[in-house]
Symmetry: C2
Subunit: 185 residues, 2 copies
Amino acid sequence: MNYCSDCGAPVTLRVPEGDNRERHVCSRCGTIHYQNPKMVVGCIPEWEDKILLCRRAIQPRLGLWTLPAGFMERGETTRDGAARETLEEANARVQVGRLYGLFNLPHIDQVYMLFRARLLDLDFSPGEESLEVRLFAEREIPWDELAFHPIRETLRLFFRDRLTGDREMRSGDIVRDTGDEPRLQ
Amino acid sequence: MNYCSDCGAPVTLRVPEGDNRERHVCSRCGTIHYQNPKMVVGCIPEWEDKILLCRRAIQPRLGLWTLPAGFMERGETTRDGAARETLEEANARVQVGRLYGLFNLPHIDQVYMLFRARLLDLDFSPGEESLEVRLFAEREIPWDELAFHPIRETLRLFFRDRLTGDREMRSGDIVRDTGDEPRLQ
Ligand SMILES: [Zn+2]
Ligand SMILES: [Zn+2]
């Protein structure tokens, strides 16, 4: 951030009065421009014993598989956002259920929220951001071709919990982008 | 948003290629400036059968009571943020537990996430943004002097669930700022 989005004047990085960390503050109108983490919301769409995955048609991780998920938009709830992403990426209609996975990625300022969801019909197809959309049984999941760490963790935990019947929400911190196992809380 | 925070040129509101909603797009450098909801993270700090509340020293809702909570900052996890807010507003140290309340406020683009927490000692005091910090038993909660709707809902559900021993996470949408009962999911 270099300029004030309100008035166009240059901003400076300083600690505002009563605050305890540096912010971008406008040199002319004084507006403090806060920057905050973003939410990525998505679904684990289920049909019988299968899960719907999308193969990405866009960067990053083009060609790899993921659960339908994306940045939450203004004016919607987390569940609204999860359903919208599923419709956009897979042309799939779901009934969104309980929150299953909450993953923090503090190194990129993202929080993933993945909801359990029931696919309402089999009339799905690739959206603009997907190359392919398919149902996978557990043994068919392309574990080595999954796009994002929180998606892999969510699927791993989901199948484990399905086996044991555990209905707890799962949460964890993913402190680096690659290599690390997330520290599960 | 009127100006590009990267280059200072005016922005225009239009639908970028491949997108389906209006964004602020820079007329010079082409940067798309996305705007997303923000997370408010906080704690329900418990000591024996009591809950810690803070009386606000700042606007909005100056003089009213709230759970320690505030905007999640960059570089932290949701639990980090909840603990930090509790330290800043009440000089109180907590062990943060499971997520208890998840409330969407789509009319103001906020998502509240309130965690159960165990107060580690009784050495708390008002932080800069608090007039007063106190432990309350259920019968002492100042129900008519609570600052925010999601805080009131969280406390109402918390005491109900404590009675029945229910350990489920609670979530709901608060669709208007005042008057409405939240639609609980
Ligand atoms: Zn300005
Ligand atoms: Zn620009």
